[in-house]
């Protein structure tokens, strides 16, 4: 499991994201993960071996390095990127669950042939209903993780500039010892770069949040002004024209509440299910 594996897992989410979500995912993978792997890891590669202290006291080097760098920048960024990309898996799981429910419904209504089941997998889910809430939660968690890590960064390394020289007094160093960091300027450049991209990602997430809320309000306003309109899911239209009321009643009484919820979301069936006694 490496970054490429994570990329494979998250590419599936891409299909069901908003346009801003896709841009965010591209920024994460190209400007953060790729830069981390291709450039930043080699800059911090010799951070301990080239950390030199002006003393011959054994152990002083190690102790001073540990004192000034409790956790390396590269590891912090790797953790940040993993935590920031994982809320998208909530959405992936919810979409998989919904697709499973749709397939179950198709099998029950006699459309369980491989062609229809394949179509369920391929069609894009609309971000509405419970999926909207899951998506919003995932965006909020992303924002939270980004902010938390930026705060941790600021607490551990106050200011983002990497200094050339640190003065160390930890035991067993005799008195105060000068210690020199390797490649401080290059490290500062990359720290500022990663910080800037992190800021861009926060802005994209906030924009996506606003977009989703506005979209939901607009949809609600449209539904309130025109209650009979609204698009059905992929098979809502087909099922409503083919199946009789009593067959749908039968399904509803036999199956669990999640199927009822899905049928309720399909306006094509909504009219008929309103008239049914089993609902």
């Amino acid at each position: 499991m490496n970054w490429a594996g994570l990329y494979t897992v998250l590419s599936g989410v891409n299909r069901h994201s908003t346009a801003i979500g896709r841009i965010w995912l591209s920024v994460i993978f190209i400007f953060r993960i790729m830069v981390l792997v291709v450039a930043a890891e080699s800059v911090w590669g010799d951070e301990k071996s080239a950390f030199t202290c002006n003393t011959q006291q054994p152990g002083c080097n190690s102790v001073c390095y540990d004192h000034f760098f409790p956790i390396s920048h590269v590891r912090l960024w790797a953790l940040q990127l993993i935590l920031v990309t994982t809320p998208a898996l909530l959405v992936a799981m919810h979409v998989a669950y919904q697709q499973h429910q749709e397939k179950k419904l198709l099998v029950l209504t006699g459309h369980g042939d491989p062609k229809h089941l394949e179509e369920v997998k391929k069609h894009k889910m609309r971000i509405s209903g419970s999926l909207w809430w899951t998506y919003i939660c995932s965006v909020i968690f992303r924002l939270l993780f980004e902010a938390v890590f930026m705060y941790i960064f600021y607490m551990i390394y106050p200011g983002y500039q990497m200094i050339r020289l640190v003065k160390c007094e930890a035991y067993p160093c005799p008195n105060t010892v000068d210690c020199f960091i390797s490649r401080p300027t290059e490290k500062t450049i990359f720290t500022v770069f990663m910080l800037a991209t992190s800021g861009i990602c926060i802005i994209l997430n906030m924009a996506e949040l606003v977009y989703l809320v506005v979209q939901a309000c607009a949809r609600r306003a449209q539904r309130d002004s025109n209650p009979t309109s609204g698009k059905s899911s992929l098979y809502g239209h087909k099922l409503s024209t083919e199946y009789k009321q009593n067959e749908i009643n039968q399904l509803l009484t036999e199956q669990d509440g999640s199927l009822k919820d899905m049928l309720r979301r399909n306006p094509g069936l909504q009219e008929k299910s309103d008239r049914c006694s089993a609902c």
């Binding site: 490429a4 000068d178 960091i181 300027t185 290059e186």
Partner: protein
């Protein structure tokens, strides 16, 4: 996530590019990315370890290395290649958006052949022409910016053998020796030339697109007549 993944992502653009665009992409991946990964990274691999200063003063080597090499050539090239290849993603996104719109249109007429739609090539005209031209423009800008940054940081492209350093804590002036300066100079000149070739290809592609646009516009009045 590495250069291979970037190549996969950009492979999709290739289908909708002009011939010059396809040549540019090939030059980018073979003569720049591949050379960077296969050769240049090894040449610069021991740049700090083998950077030797004529002093026993601890910390002097670190400080002098940092003073003369604020950012390594390898990292600058890696950043340059990432930035130069990303405008192509604008085109990828625009094409994905067009395909999505077409699928939505065709779904209502029940004539959806997803495979054929995915394989269909879009002609570079209308809004796609503008997106494509913008992406080429950004490529040229990024190439120029990075070449300028290179020139400003490392005056001239030649890697010197000897550097004289007087930054604290080095006592007085100290001689520091760079490892493999000639090999580094050769690769710097090579990457610079290929960067120049890529810029020329981009400028040629931009001119080609403009000529195509100008040739298309006069045809319209003839059709209206």
């Amino acid at each position: 996530m590495d250069w291979g993944s970037l190549q996969k992502v950009l492979g999709g653009v290739n289908k909708h590019s002009t011939s010059i665009g396809k040549i540019w992409l090939t030059v980018l991946f073979i003569f720049r990315v591949m050379i960077l990964v296969v050769a240049a990274e090894k040449v610069w691999g021991d740049e700090q370890n083998d950077f030797v200063c004529n002093t026993l003063q601890p910390g002097c080597k670190n400080v002098c290395y940092d003073h003369f090499f604020p950012i390594s050539h390898i990292r600058l090239w890696a950043l340059q290649l990432i930035f130069v290849s990303t405008p192509a993603l604008l085109v990828v996104m625009h094409i994905a958006h067009r395909r999505h719109e077409k699928k939505r249109e065709l779904r209502h007429s029940e004539k959806v052949d997803v495979e054929e739609l995915n394989k269909q090539k879009f002609h570079i005209q209308g809004p796609l022409w503008w997106t494509y031209s913008c992406s080429i423009f950004f490529r040229i800008v990024f190439e120029a910016v990075f070449m300028y940054v290179f020139y400003v940081m490392y005056d001239g492209y030649q890697m010197p053998r000897l550097l004289k350093c007087s930054a604290w804590p080095c006592p007085n002036t100290v001689d520091c020796f760079v490892s493999r300066p000639t090999e580094k100079t050769m690769f710097t000149i090579f990457m610079l030339s290929v960067s120049g070739i890529c810029m020329l290809l981009n400028v040629a592609e931009l001119c080609y697109l403009m000529i195509k646009f100008c040739m298309r516009v006069p045809k319209k009045p003839a059709i209206l007549k």
